[in-house]
Amino acid sequence: MLGIVRQKMLEQSLKKIRPAVSVLRSYSSAAKQMTVREALNSALDEEMSADSKVFLMGEEVGEYQGAYKITKGLLDKYGPERVLDTPITEAGFTGIAVGAAYYGVKPVVEFMTFNFSMQAIDHIINSAAKTNYMSSGRISVPIVFRGPNGAAAGVGAQHSQCYAAWYASCPGLKVLAPYSSEDARGLLKAGIRDPDPVVFLENELLYGESFPVSDEVLDSSFCLPIGKAKIERKGKDVTIAAYSKMVGYALKAAETLEKDGIDAEVINLRSIRPLDRSTINASVRKTNRLVTVEEAFPQHGVGAEICASIVEESFAYLDAPVERIAGADVPMPYAANLERMAVPQVEDIVRAAKRTCYRLVS
């Protein structure tokens, strides 16, 4: 009886706080819509304008205006000395960018997809990530590696892998995964300004999606902190932690769950390394249930790391085992129906959340 009264009081106070919280979350009432593509383009433009040491390098970034048009217009504005079209030599041009970064210029290297970064992974890990440590802090590498990551639509096994877990396991790197336009702008700007190597994992299917952005986001000095997750939707029954495109799926799942009386809290990780363990743990201590969602292969993934973190720090608060939703443990199939089965869908997240709440799953 007392518990119900307390809960009702909590709900009422939450209702009072919630509008204020949502205002804080979106900074102000959203006036403008911006696609992720525009967000990235404007972030690059502003950072190149502010600092002449920033330059772009990659395949098709110049004349072609970018394989996905992210770098549209930048060649005309900044010239071929700062927007460099490279030959198809990932290992070569990544190493060149890293070598230049050793001496303080700030390259932004584009991989046409992160699958091609595997050609250059020696330079990302051995030349970029480890150098600051090996040189005992004397040489820093202010480089950004960016490009689309994860599954696209019907591109097959060799063009659909998610590399978040691979890069996030390496000390010396920072790994960011934006979801919305606000994330894209703020995190890319933060990454370019950061003195350490940053792996910036975009998503091809999000490029064309529009999100509301406030005036603060549009300001050229806007920047998001690296290592801080965002609570996209506050809830009290179950925590759903996701990154990149899966945040959108998690939000849709939360709407479906709400109709069934489950109030889900959705966390947008934003930063895979450093992982915002404190936000995730605080949320789980509140809701006592956790579902992690990722598109990547399940083994040794981001979800596994989050689960380990919860077990280490908040085990006593768990009321149910952690549910881990990930892509299927197969190379991505080509056929559209198989592809759909290999990637998490909204229904999978809903089912997992219901399992943690010990509800009957239809």
Partner: protein, 256 residues
């Protein structure tokens, strides 16, 4: 035959690299400070170690003195400076040898490769460079770092995992970095240094053309073994260096 000798102090005459004249033999630009890492009294080495100048360079010095070709002529002082540098490299290598002994006695761990017999290559190139020029190389790496000016003490300390090492023991014999002397490793992946060096050369060009520092004339040297020429990154960087006209020299060492 090895004898100890005190190196003559070479009076620094900084001059641009591209001046050649009939009257002046090729001078080696050095900074005003004396050669870092040189010892006043070199270690008296045993007769078993082979310290003869490579036959090639001996021939060059002799021949040029007789033919008086101005571009390749070096003075006695320069010759001594180069010789001292090579001897130092060999001496540190001998110390490394002792370290290899320690390796077997479990006092030191990791990899120890030696550069004995190849010192002339690195000395010949690096002694032409200025402080702000950069070098990148594969492994072994201690001789190049020495020639560039990293103190021998710092290198040996690094090998022995001491905090006084050039990378505080965090890099090891495989990875010798020195920001001050523009030495960028020591990278055990033999092809890894080639794109890095190309990138450093790119940065010189960027500084000149975009950041408008017109006096920037830094060059970069990439040292690697001939086996690396099979690697794709070598060709990628040759292509890009030619395409973008980068100030880089690729030094292929025959390590047979």
């Amino acid at each position: 035959m090895a004898t100890a000798f005190s190196p003559s102090k070479f009076a620094a005459q900084p001059s641009p690299l591209n001046t050649t004249s009939q009257n002046n033999p090729l001078t080696i630009p050095t900074t005003a400070s004396p050669f870092l890492g040189s010892t006043r009294k070199l270690i008296r080495l045993s007769s078993s170690s082979n310290l003869n100048l490579r036959r090639g360079s001996e021939t060059v010095v002799k021949e040029n003195k007789s033919k008086s070709t101005p571009n390749l002529l070096i003075t006695k002082e320069e010759g001594l400076e180069l010789y001292e540098d090579m001897v130092l490299g060999r001496a540190v290598g001998t110390a490394f040898d002792k370290c290899a002994q320690m390796y077997y006695d479990r006092k030191m761990f990791g990899l120890v490769d030696l550069y004995n017999g190849q010192e002339a290559v690195s000395t010949g190139f690096i002694k032409l460079l200025k402080q702000q020029d950069s070098i990148v190389y594969a492994y072994p790496d201690h001789v190049q770092a020495l020639s560039k000016g990293v103190p021998a003490r710092a290198i040996l300390s690094e090998l022995l995992r001491k905090a006084t090492g050039c990378c505080r023991g965090q890099g090891g014999s495989l990875n010798i970095f020195s920001r001050e002397h523009n030495v960028l490793g020591g990278l055990d992946f033999i092809w890894e240094g080639i794109p890095i060096a190309t990138g450093v050369a790119f940065r010189s060009k960027y500084k000149r053309e975009v950041l408008k520092e017109a006096d920037c004339d830094q060059v970069t040297l990439a040292f690697f073994w001939h086996g690396t020429c099979d690697n794709v990154q070598f060709y990628e960087c040759l292509n890009v260096a030619a395409l973008w006209k980068l100030p880089i020299v690729f030094v292929v060492e025959n390590s047979v």
